[in-house]
């Protein structure tokens, strides 16, 4: 019984740690704690420049064959993520939850790109 209890706690701690380690999941959790729901509505016209950028990076990644290009894209994604994380920190610091919500939406697109890039790097 004590083992079960310890296992439960251990897994909760792991979950908490993983949530807080990653800026996106950490940000979403903070948003939730503040009582704001993450973005659910479709992004459209207002964000077309941003969406086009995401589209282009996705296309570039899908077409990429050599490691050089993949590294370039990896660096780009990392830079963008760092930039967004800085902006997100600033938003939370001034309690601008709507801006935080928007930024977290943008970060999700880059998180997906990061995952795709990782699978691309794994030799098949």
């Amino acid at each position: 019984k004590e083992q079960y209890y310890s296992e439960q706690h251990s897994s909760l701690i792991n979950k908490a740690y993983q949530t807080l380690l990653n800026p996106l999941s950490r940000g979403l959790y903070l948003l939730e704690l503040s009582g704001v729901e993450p973005a659910q509505e479709t992004d459209c016209d207002a964000d077309s420049a941003f969406l086009m950028e995401i589209m282009e990076i996705n296309e570039k990644l899908a077409e990429s064959k050599n490691g050089g290009i993949i590294e370039e894209i990896e660096t780009l994604i990392k830079v963008k993520q760092e930039e967004l994380t800085r902006e997100l920190t600033a938003a939370f610091e001034r309690d601008d939850l709507q801006e935080a919500k928007k930024l977290l939406g943008k970060m999700k697109y880059f998180a997906n790109l990061e995952d795709k890039l990782k699978s691309k790097k794994i030799p098949s």
Binding site: E41, K106, K108
Partner: protein, 139 residues
């Protein structure tokens, strides 16, 4: 590729044999481009339509980066809009798409994204046809 386990065979079919993947010339006057995204899951979808002088959609293409259900929904959307008039295509509902693909509740938002993409593409087309807005854009 993501695991196909748990996806309905109709979704798998669209994923493995996608119809109408690609692009149309976004600068052509009779082409409407819709670009939409779902911030909750990070899926991004581009849908384009080519409309003839009679207001009928004669060609459609899509490019989607996201889950199998999102890809299938947009693939089906391009199939469905072809041959329809602009007004007929505006009537396509996400519920029809979801039903056709037997999407589970957790993937219903993918069909909604496809409906939004159709509407965005048609709105873009209509905007391009409006002579007043055309000259506003050029100015």
């Amino acid at each position: 590729a993501p695991a196909a386990v748990g996806y309905h065979k109709k979704v798998v079919d669209h994923y493995e044999n996608p119809r109408n993947v690609g692009s149309l010339d976004r600068n052509a006057k009779n082409v409407g481009t819709g670009l939409v995204g779902a911030p909750a899951c990070g899926d991004v979808m581009k849908l384009q339509v080519e409309v003839d002088e009679n207001g009928k959609i004669v060609d459609a293409r899509f490019k989607t980066f996201g889950c199998g259900s999102a890809i299938a929904s947009s693939s089906l959307a391009t199939e469905w809009v072809k041959g329809k008039t602009v007004d007929e295509a505006l009537k396509i509902k996400n519920t029809d798409i979801a039903k056709e693909l037997c999407l589970p509740p957790v993937k219903l938002h993918c069909s909604m994204l496809a409906e939004d993409a159709i509407k965005a593409a048609l709105a873009d087309y209509k905007l391009k046809q409006d002579p007043n807005k055309e000259s506003e854009k050029k100015a």
